[in-house]
């Protein structure tokens, strides 16, 4: 069976971009958690999670965003989320993530968002 989930890391104008591919469920969420933890512990707290190739997310995946956001913002960073497909976005939206996280259409918009509002204004 093909790898159901993978993370590609890149950098864009001083930001760390984690591009997710495949599905993020209770089985694969620990891998994502480890990736975010690695960046946080290294002091890289300006993150963009790029989701254009993410096909599915469950509450286990959402829990990773939730469990790091306070620390990351406390360290002066943020997690901007971009590229969500409509069926993935509906999950973020119904749980109220839109009010707590910066969710933007694509990577250039995420980079711009860091210029305009380094931490989401709530």
């Amino acid at each position: 069976m093909a790898n159901p989930f993978s993370i590609h890391k890149s950098e864009e104008q001083g930001l760390v971009v984690l591009s997710l591919e495949g599905y993020l469920d209770a089985h694969t969420a620990p891998e994502f958690e480890k990736a975010v933890e690695t960046e946080y512990e290294a002091g890289r707290v300006r993150l963009v999670v790029e989701c254009s190739r993410l096909t599915y997310i469950s509450s286990a995946g959402l829990g990773v965003f939730m469990s790091f956001i306070d620390e990351i913002r406390g360290a002066g960073g943020d997690i901007k989320i971009c590229g969500l497909a409509p069926k993935v976005f509906q999950v973020f939206d119904i749980l109220g993530f839109s009010a707590l996280f910066d969710i933007v259409p694509d990577l250039p918009a995420a980079v711009q968002r860091y210029e305009d509002a380094p931490v989401k204004e709530t």
Binding site: Y23, D25, A26, S58, S67, K87, L95, G96
Partner: protein, 146 residues
């Protein structure tokens, strides 16, 4: 005309690596019953949440146990029953806190339940811990012309 009811079942070992198989099963049921893409996605996710809860909580990640998913489809709805013999829980005790409160408390519990209730038209539990726990979820189908 009398409605024709069809039943489909899937039994899998209680391991999160089987969640993808469960979602594929449910997705096929939803698509074949005439649901739109967004409703199929909601069905898929509600069942994933229910099965994840069983695997991680009712069975404490013991992969020797089995999770059963039974889908019953008729002209008006898709009913999914998730059945286990694990320790069960009191549905009334599951809080539905605000998202910010969960973040502040570093907790993610309760999100799955909130999703199930948001995405399905009905959610019921019947718990006999250690004997049989059954979670029943119903999604109504759009009315067809004619």
């Amino acid at each position: 005309m009398a409605s024709i009811e069809k039943t489909f079942s899937l039994h899998v070992p209680s391991s999160t690596e089987n969640l993808a198989m469960i979602r594929d099963f449910v997705k096929s049921i939803g698509t074949q019953s005439g649901m739109g893409d967004l409703d199929v996605a909601k069905l898929e996710m509600a069942v994933d949440e229910a099965c994840s809860n069983v695997m991680e909580h009712a069975y404490d990640s013991d992969s020797t146990k089995e999770v059963s998913i039974r889908a019953t489809v008729d002209e008006s709805s898709v009913q999914i029953d998730v059945i286990d013999t694990g320790k069960g829980f009191d549905p009334a005790s599951v809080e539905q806190p605000k998202l910010q409160d969960l973040i502040t408390a570093k907790r993610t519990g309760g999100l799955g339940m909130r999703l199930m209730k948001s995405f399905m038209d009905e959610v019921h539990y019947e718990m006999l811990p250690g004997v049989k726990n059954e979670l029943r979820m119903v999604k109504k189908l759009p009315k067809r012309d004619g």
